[in-house]
Symmetry: C2
Subunit: 427 residues, 2 copies
């Protein structure tokens, strides 16, 4: 049986679904993410192996990774010393000697191509309401050529090494000395200060710096090496916080797993396409084509250069941030195009396809209404409105070439609701 | 001859006025305020004398200061040691042994009652475009009982002493080590981050902290006393920046003095009433009754407690900030009442009575339109729209009891335009 929207979801009792969604939403809304540590991925990601490189999107075979995402995987292998040359790296992936994993399967999320290797430091974010942990690695810095944008050269190598050896140890010690930082109130505050903590993190980054400031000042007095340098680096990098908002969102969304729920618990893409998970269908991905985009390119770049090489930062939209809070961050019009009216309208539209209003994340422009939270796959199909996300845009030749707004493709929701009907219609 | 609006301004050639206003606006728009130092008022305010206490509003005789503003003057005299007891202070003011001055006459602006005494540290803000200097003293801290809100007791005394002996020396050294901080770009940035830098300074305060951070870290390493304590104090005080935005605004507005201009160059009030200056009429004040208000009171307070004890923070509105940028700071609805729609409409209305759009201060919600800048007294009368300001509200028994929006009274503009006609109609 197929319903009006072209799926069989209508065959499952809506009271059952509503109750499940209410529960999933309540769990999401109660999540309480704290960053408590920084540690190498190899030490803390569950089941991590020394020869493992993680990347964004639903898992695929090595041969399916193309373009920038393939380049990023090769760069990761080289950075980690799993191969000495590009050819060795390719051979390693070919033979399976170097393994590839999907970030989400390791409680992590990847920014753009999202490369993780064993030595890379990650934020450890504990969801104190539910006990689960989410991870995200560090922002490489402002330079448009970054490993997660498919680039690997001496500059990228040096900047990653600096993160590993100077920045992350300092930030980690500051976080431990602070005994953790509660991220949800900090994000809520940043929303009042012009951020949506996906494509704009200017306020959140300095608010985070402020949280660790007492520890940093103590560390300067204690002559901990690299503290001043690191603090100044943080102060100059408005995007620093994105990795914390991603880890916080992952730790929050992972608590949504609820039997029978049609709420989306993850959204991500690879070079092949976009994919979502539902709270009621565990770890299964439902895939569609690449997202639909509308963006603004940096000077000197053209539309035909845009390429997809992965992205899991839409975990922020999954929890009611990013595009779902863009009316908080109207100055993004400068960065990713659009007008205030369009941004506000887009943000309002998301209430049509979400289960509820966030209890913590609120929009000043909407009289502090909670952000639209918990995308309901049913509503996406019924209303024909696709979730909107604020993202960075990658270029064919690697590097960031712009920013914009994407929409998740309808096919993912159709796949998901078909699988949902199959799983639940006989109950 | 009296025109439709009840004044004689119509007798002066409008081409002459327009040209003068264009010049005054251009000077205001080109102002480039930098904070370059912190020093005791007695050392740097032009013509300051050891027995002088400054307060807000057009100058008055001692006997005219009543209620909280009188209490604040007495508190100032006691704090400075100009008198040992309240009775001695009153006798000192009576005899003229303790002198009273108006902040504006000393290139300074006062927050609320605005008390300055010789030992109080002030920010020294240099307008690098025009060479003039503006001053403002320090925020006392979050405690609602503050000298500038008409309170003086042991707690107030200790907090002021802490500013004098610990906080200001540290901030001063950090500013000098930084070789000054450009305030205009910082304010422009804060407007993108939810501030209007009058009643909301959360972003500007941490952006300022970030500017002096390298110096602060060096000072920690150099074991400068009080640095950690001071930096943590700054980090916790979201209102810290207001005094810098006031000094920046004063240094900017003072550059507007232009023959023939009807633009407002200052707005201030005392316990007696509101007053304005015009750019084309030098230092003369034009007075009216107290402002018209609409506010939100802190819990436990009632409307009948509201009292006027001075305020010169409307210097921020004079330069296109505060109420003239409140569409940047919609989360103020929480603090001072109102709704986003009302705030946005109020902000838009100000374009009706201003000369131009600010070239630096811009409103994301209005597609980065410059803030309405340079109140034209002619337009205020012609349109019947009164300038709007975001302010803190003082209580009869001292202390802050709420916050809200005030409007300058029409009478000030009538007085000013009558004087203008008298001065210019014969040219």
């Amino acid at each position: 049986m197929v319903n009006a929207a072209g799926t069989r979801a209508g065959t499952v009792d809506s009271t059952f679904i509503d109750a499940a969604n209410e529960k999933a939403f309540a769990r999401l809304d109660a999540a309480d993410p704290w960053v408590v540590d920084v540690a190498p991925a190899g030490d803390v990601l569950p089941g991590y192996r020394a020869n493992l490189v993680l990347t964004s999107g639903a898992p695929m075979e090595w041969a399916e990774y193309v373009g920038g995402q393939r380049e990023a995987l090769i760069g990761g292998a080289l950075f980690e010393g799993l191969a000495a040359t590009r050819e060795e790296a390719i051979a390693g992936f070919d033979s399976g000697e170097i393994e590839i994993g999907a970030c989400h399967d390791y409680a992590a999320v990847g920014s753009l191509a999202g490369i993780y290797t064993a030595s890379m430091p990650v934020f450890v974010v504990e969801n104190r309401a539910h006990g689960n942990i989410g991870f995200c690695n560090f922002y490489e810095g402002k330079e448009p050529r970054r490993l997660n944008y498919g680039c690997y050269d001496e500059g990228v190598h040096q900047r990653l090494l600096h993160v590993n050896t100077v920045l992350a140890p300092v930030v980690g010690e500051a976080i431990r000395r602070t005994e953790g930082v509660a991220l949800k109130p900090l994000i809520a505050r940043a929303l009042r200060m012009g951020d949506e903590v996906h494509s704009r993190n200017a306020a959140a980054s300095i608010l985070f710096n402020r949280e660790i400031l007492p520890a940093i000042l103590d560390m300067v007095r204690d002559d901990v090496p690299g503290v001043q340098e690191s603090m100044l680096h943080l102060a100059e990098n408005d995007y620093f916080f994105l990795r914390l908002s991603m880890a916080a969102a992952k730790a929050s969304a992972d608590a949504m797993i609820v039997e029978g729920s049609t709420l989306v618990s993850a959204m991500a893409f690879s070079c092949r396409g976009f994919a979502i998970k539902l709270a009621g269908l565990g770890d299964q991905w439902f895939e569609g084509p690449p997202p639909i985009h509308q963006g603004k390119l940096f000077k000197g770049h053209t539309e035909d250069e845009i390429t997809w090489m992965g992205g899991e930062s839409p975990i922020t939209e999954t929890v009611g941030l990013g595009g779902f809070a863009q009316a908080c961050a109207l100055s993004l019009q400068d960065y990713q195009g659009g007008s205030p009216d369009v941004m506000i309208e887009r943000n309002r539209e998301m209430y049509e396809i979400t289960h509820g209003e966030n209890g913590t994340y609120r929009i000043p422009l909407f009289s502090f209404q909670g952000t639209p939270t918990g995308v309901d796959a049913r509503k996406v199909l019924d209303k024909g409105i696709l979730p909107v996300m604020d993202v960075g845009l990658a270029g064919r030749d690697g590097g960031q070439i712009g920013a914009g707004v994407i929409r998740a493709p309808r096919e993912c929701f159709e796949q998901a609701m078909n699988a949902y009907a199959e799983r639940y219609e006989s109950r």
